[in-house]
Symmetry: C2
Subunit: 134 residues, 2 copies
């Protein structure tokens, strides 16, 4: 038996991923199907671990599964220009920037609303009033 073969549980532990999530990635084409043991257990090789680590890092950075699929495909073609990689990362950064802007505007509105609350009764509540029409 090869000692570098991993069960799904080992892979999960080493990447801080839930077992179900790993199966989910497989079903969705992010992680290739591993071979199976006689007992029908998934038998992972070091490459799987690398690929899953890649996926998890990209997820931590907020990339969508679609974007990660594309990044993985690009990283498998190491001779290509990495302009496409840059495009995906920059697009994602732009989305993050937009979210930040939107959330900051939102927070400003919440601040305004909450600061007016004098915590009396609901009938006089400025928060409810702000939300209510007219």
């Amino acid at each position: 038996m090869n000692s570098s073969i991993l069960t799904i549980g080992h892979l999960a532990k080493q990447t801080s991923t839930k077992v179900e999530t790993i199966r989910f990635y497989e079903k969705n084409g992010l992680l290739p199907e591993p071979s199976r043991t006689e007992g029908n257990y998934r038998a992972y090789e070091p490459d799987h671990l690398n690929r899953l680590s890649f996926i998890r890092r990209a997820r931590d950075l907020g990339f969508s599964l679609d974007q990660i699929r594309a990044l993985l495909a690009l990283s498998d073609n190491r001779g290509q220009s990495c302009a496409a990689v840059d495009a995906i990362a920059s697009e994602h950064r732009a989305e993050v920037e937009k979210k930040i802007t939107d959330l900051m505007a939102l927070k400003a509105e919440l601040d305004r609303m909450i600061d007016q609350c004098e915590c009396g009764i609901v009938a006089d509540c400025r928060i409810i009033e702000t939300l209510s029409p007219k």
Copy 2:
């Protein structure tokens, strides 16, 4: 016929909501079931319009449907203390603040990653390298 009675389409237009979304709010207990016409059409009254406007404003401010359900219940009991309202709004603001902080850290990481890309070939790509394990 009362001219203040509205069809679901009118309600949708006046609140910039999709018809399906209004039915969804009803099914999920945010909007009370209106009476029906002979033809089984929903017949809304001005109160429904007010309530739906409230929901949409709260959604625009990022409140969850659960939070909105709670806010609506509070706004229906106008004699109560509005401390509970303040608590919901403050909790939401804290969540928004956390999201902003998290996204700004994320953006900083993306900035670092993208700035290193010299757009050569994938094999030398710093973005792929950053994502790859070890």
